[in-house]
């Protein structure tokens, strides 16, 4: 049962301080939704936790809830979904999915089943360049189904998704949290389902 611990993290871009001495924890089964206006540093915070950026001060650790032993390398226990979909346009949906699976600690979930769950089964052999933005986002979300990484780091997961896509995403998220997964999400869409353990962290205010 993993637990995320963030202590006293601060990060500045150039001479402008973006994240100032931020500390919080995240237990298994919890969702933390990061809100705040654009450019306040939501993506920067996600990148700090994913290890893409190195904080000036503070520490970020993913460890076991019980004995506190740190899970290394952290990159095997997290799944990053960036602003862009990380898909190769000239490849088909299935080929993209198979490579994305390589990049995270994969589980035995069948890629075709994942595609059908996000409603892309019929287009599995079509090159991604023929997809609409919403379909590309669903394909990127489908890759999250293929990993057993406990920590999900999602940057604007719902953007360019239609109503049905958002419902699909929230189901996926709920199932992940029930399976003792954790998620950190930066987004503007309010979550419709009232997940019991959803906490909000607003950047910009003195949190």
């Amino acid at each position: 049962m993993p637990r995320l611990v963030v202590e006293g993290v601060s990060y500045s871009r150039g001479s402008q301080l973006i994240i100032d001495n931020l500390s919080f924890g995240l237990a298994a089964g919890e969702l933390l939704s990061i809100t705040g206006q654009n450019g306040i540093g939501k993506t920067t915070l996600l990148k700090l936790i994913a290890g893409l950026l190195i904080p000036e001060q503070g520490a970020i650790q993913l460890c076991h809830a019980d004995n506190g032993q740190i899970l290394t390398p952290q990159s095997n226990h997290q799944a990053w979904l960036g602003h862009r979909n990380a898909l190769k346009d000239t490849w088909t949906a299935l080929e993209n999915l198979l490579l994305l699976r390589q990049l995270r600690s994969a589980n035995e979930f069948d890629p075709l089943k994942a595609l059908s769950m996000v409603g892309l089964f019929k287009q599995r052999h079509q090159p991604v360049q023929t997809f609409s933005q919403g379909m590309k986002r669903r394909l990127a979300l489908a890759s999250l189904l293929l990993t057993n990484a406990p920590l999900w780091l999602l940057d604007e997961p719902q953007n360019s998704l239609d109503k049905e896509g958002i419902a699909l995403f929230e189901q996926m998220l709920a199932r992940h949290l029930e399976a003792d997964g954790m998620a950190l999400m930066a987004s503007h869409h309010a979550l419709s389902l009232s997940t019991p353990n959803c906490r909000y962290l607003t950047l910009g205010s003195s949190s």
Partner: protein
């Protein structure tokens, strides 16, 4: 290791999509070689004397030009960010990416170089050594140049900056490569420079990907 072959296959498939791309360095190489006789006059003695240097400089510039597009597509569609988030595989990605680039862009250069060198009246005896020196040298050029490309991805007008950063490090490769061919034309054995060239290639292949991985992480932040 499977990830290495998978990414290598992926790169080769991707390059297969836009097939003409791998021809560009070859066309550049042939075109520039055409310019030399026009400029230096077609007399055999003139050209033969400088042929080794000319072929090597053209191959070096062709490699440098082909390096620019190394990470551009991955940065654009966000896959690089994914690789950077997964630290151990970033190194594998760097190795695979560079090997694929070398296979696609530099190997054809090496294969076509005897033809162009012959057109510059390079003595026949030196053609084999030319190919060997280009083979080893282009490995060092790609791996060393990749560090400069990784640092300058995402910057504007980075082609000049890339040349400025990387050309000083190309000097040893050029010296050993060109002199290997020149020594053979004088009838001596070119073992010395070729061994040094091979040493440079091995040094570049082992050390450069670490710097490339670090630079990629910096430029995506």
């Amino acid at each position: 290791m499977i990830l290495f072959w998978r990414v290598l296959k992926q790169q080769l498939d991707l390059a297969y999509e836009h097939k003409t791309a791998w021809l560009n360095p070859l066309l550049f190489f042939a075109l520039v070689t055409l310019l030399f006789p026009l400029a230096l006059g077609a007399s055999t003695s003139n050209l033969a004397a400088v042929a080794p240097g000319l072929v090597w400089i053209t191959a070096l510039l062709a490699t440098l030009l082909s390096l620019e597009t190394l990470f551009r597509d991955d940065v654009a569609d966000g896959t690089l960010e994914l690789w950077c988030a997964n630290q151990p595989s970033l190194l594998v990605y760097a190795y695979a990416k560079l090997s694929a680039h070398w296979l696609l862009y530099c190997l054809p250069l090496v294969l076509i170089s005897p033809l162009l060198a012959y057109s510059l009246h390079l003595p026949m005896v030196a053609l084999a050594v030319l190919m060997l020196s280009l083979l080893l040298g282009s490995i060092a050029l790609v791996w060393l140049g990749a560090i400069g490309v990784a640092i300058t991805t995402g910057l504007k007008y980075n082609s000049f900056l890339l040349a400025l950063l990387v050309l000083p490090f190309y000097v040893p490769v050029l010296i050993f490569g060109a002199s290997a061919v020149e020594i053979t034309t004088q009838g001596l054995s070119a073992a010395g420079p070729l061994y040094l060239l091979a040493a440079l290639a091995v040094l570049a292949v082992t050390l450069a990907p670490f710097a490339v991985a670090k630079a990629l992480k910096l430029s995506t932040s």
